[in-house]
Amino acid sequence: MIEPDQEARIAFFFCQRLDPGQDKNRRSLEMEFGPSVVFYPMPCGGRVETIHLLRALEGGADRVVVITCPRGQCRYGEGNLRAQKRLKYAKNLVHEIGLEPERLEFRAVPLVSASRIDEIIRPILLEPWNLGPSPLRRVPRKR
């Protein structure tokens, strides 16, 4: 579980279609967790590239989560599948350098009209997280 005052940094890449009001709805989490949580809204999960995930880790994220709609629900056909494949590929690349692949996660969330991005992400933030800070962080963050 991530408390607001903890050091953990989490990057969320997510499809904007999960919540058309995401720009407003994610503000409560940004206020609550501050710079520990960074959001990267995408027009479609298929926009996520392997390099985006690596750069997030390289930039010091402890955990990178990609959230898309489930298989068969992508408006653009297979953006969610592409995102999943690229994340799997990124896990292999991360494994090659000795970093835990579990720092990269994929989540499929049902596309329903009433969904809000803060309600999707909050339970993820409250989940137990055992890997701790990324060893890539060279300089401890200042509070």
Binding site: E96, I97, L99
Partner: protein
């Protein structure tokens, strides 16, 4: 298109270990098409190298750039201002590109980041197939544009061998039988009589038989006065 695959990361790590600054150079032509050495792959490998160095407590500066072509002087020469700033160059080009680069910058240490594999085509996203061996004497006019040298496991010029099952190769049932495709296409074009001819063996002296090959054309050369 020349196809290639990235070398295993552990091999690249070992190659670059002696250096503290590295320029990763991609090629935006063939190896970009086969997703092994284009701009995206340069960015991915550079990111991996930087993270790996950090995890190992090693100092490593990694620069990134991609040339339109890494086998042509005019493109490689553009890196003149950059090359001297790095201890080594990690080239994500085919073997021809790596060698062209090291010829143009003879003082630079140029390392290969890819394993060059074959001449092929992009069949579909994520699938590349070998379909040319560069034998030096194209025979596709006899075989309905399907090369038995590259695509038949037995390289038969006077096929089929008879082992094909359901249109698939007996050596590898996952691969379509080239001769089955040749016969079907010749039938389609009403040219089955071509199968009656006896085709002589391939003259491999036109390939690597006489050492490295070269193509020289006066009409393309720059006149020196």
């Amino acid at each position: 298109m020349i196809t290639a695959v990235r070398k295993p990361f552990c091999e690249i790590r070992e190659m670059v270990a002696p250096y503290e600054s590295l320029l990763v150079v991609g090629c935006a032509t063939c190896v970009a098409e086969c997703a092994s050495g284009g701009e995206k792959e340069v960015a991915i490998l550079s990111s991996q190298l930087r993270m790996d160095a950090t995890l190992r407590g090693k100092k490593l500066e990694v620069g990134e750039t991609t040339l339109d072509r890494q086998c042509v002087y005019e493109f490689i020469d553009r890196l003149s201002p950059l090359v001297g700033k790095y201890e080594a160059i990690l080239s994500l080009a085919c073997g021809a590109g790596v060698q062209a680069f090291s010829e143009i910058f003879p003082e630079a240490i140029v390392l290969p980041g890819l394993d060059t594999t074959f001449l092929g085509q992009t069949r579909e996203a994520g699938l590349w197939l070998e379909n040319c061996r560069g034998c030096g004497s194209c025979k596709l006019q006899w075989f309905a544009s399907i090369c038995p040298i590259a695509r038949c496991a037995k390289r038969l010029l006077n096929g089929p061998c008879g082992g094909s099952k359901g249109g698939q190769c007996e050596v590898d049932p996952q691969v379509p039988c080239a001769w089955n495709m040749i016969v079907e296409r010749l039938r389609k074009f009403g040219k089955l009589e071509l199968l009656e001819d006896i085709y002589p063996p391939c003259d491999w002296s036109l390939a690597q038989g006489r050492g490295p090959r070269k193509i020289q054309r006066e009409d393309q050369a720059i006149e020196t006065i």
